[in-house]
């Protein structure tokens, strides 16, 4: 329940940002970069799915749940595509100013998910560790955390570069 809320909140924030930027638009270079980000995201997901499929053939590997594989696919793809776009200045439109604010929101969403994921994986709530639930929270938390850190680092490097000029 809590996981679903976080996921819905994530898409609500990203959707709101995209909606607010709708009129600003992206330039041609940014569109090309985002398409290429989609390529890397797709290749990541395909490789991951190929690995899941090969694992499922061997009986010695533990059986993976659908929730686990779909969560891993979604977040790994989003993470690769997002980080590539952020690093190449194509995640936000040219007119966006408050990208650090977005990073802070991502960070706020990422930290509790990371903590819940670790607690679930170690079974600290009491009871046996829940691998599927723990990994779902963890990968979502890691994704938000990495996106936030990359935005902040990119902004920091850009401001340093501008300072040198």
């Amino acid at each position: 329940m809590l996981g679903s809320l976080f996921v819905i909140l994530f898409f609500a924030v990203v959707g709101l940002v995209l909606f607010l930027q709708k009129d600003d638009g992206y330039d041609e270079r940014q569109t090309v970069i985002m398409d290429r980000g989609g390529r890397y995201g797709l290749l990541t997901v395909l490789l991951l799915n190929a690995a899941f499929y090969i694992f499922s053939v061997f009986d010695s590997f533990p059986e993976l749940s659908v929730r686990f594989t779909s969560t891993m696919s979604i977040w790994s793809g989003i993470l690769v595509a997002s980080l590539y776009a952020i690093w190449n200045h194509a995640y936000f439109s040219l007119k966006s100013e408050k990208t650090n604010g977005f990073a802070v929101v991502m960070l706020i969403m990422g930290i509790p998910n990371l903590l819940i994921g670790v607690v679930d994986l170690l079974g600290l709530w009491g009871g046996s560790p829940d691998l599927t639930k723990g990994v779902s929270f963890l990968i979502f938390g890691i994704s938000c955390f990495c996106i936030a850190l990359t935005i902040m680092l990119r902004n920091h490097l850009d401001s340093n570069e501008e300072g040198d000029l």
């Binding site: 989609g38 797709l42 799915n49």
Partner: protein, 164 residues
């Protein structure tokens, strides 16, 4: 089962041949690269959507539509199915210098039929299909759609050239 293995091997060989041919004939031009990247993005979004639907269906509805093995195979299949027809339709599947794309179209369509026929035969003989047969059907559909799209695109291009 032996036939299925042979067919899958032939399909893998033809894909290898296609990749090799693309390397030999040269790289795609700038427009084609952009179209290919866009196709990757569409395929990516499609797979994300599929995974999200399966996830929520299971979580909210408590209904398991697919096993993790089937979801992995279906994701790869659907991604390729979105990518191939889109790039073919936008003249970006083959590099500019490739001339004999129709022969590739016939090859794909033929292999697609070859995948579908044994399963259809099995079904009429025993009235049941196992999981391997379903994978063959999906592979057959993919090849048939890809081959048909190449042939249709070439046919329309020829018509357009004649109209000039």
């Amino acid at each position: 089962m032996f036939l299925a293995t042979v067919v899958v091997f032939v399909v893998a060989l033809s894909f290898g041949f296609l990749i090799l041919m693309n390397k030999v004939e040269g790289e795609r031009d700038e427009r084609q690269t952009q179209v290919v990247d866009r196709a990757y993005k569409y395929a990516f979004v499609t797979i994300m959507f599929l995974n999200a639907v399966v996830y929520f269906w299971e979580k909210v509805g408590n209904i398991q539509l697919l096993s993790s093995e089937d979801l992995a195979a279906l994701s790869i299949w659907l991604g390729t199915l979105v990518f191939a027809p889109y790039t073919i339709w936008q003249h970006a599947y083959f590099p500019v210098k490739v001339k004999k794309s129709s022969s590739m179209g016939w090859l794909f369509a033929g292999l697609g039929l070859l995948e579908l026929l044994p399963v259809t035969w099995d079904y009429f003989e025993s009235s049941k299909v196992d999981q391997q047969d379903i994978y063959l059907v999906f592979l057959g559909i993919l090849l048939l759609i890809t081959g048909s799209t190449i042939l249709l695109r070439n046919y329309l291009d020829r018509k357009e050239d004649e109209g000039r």
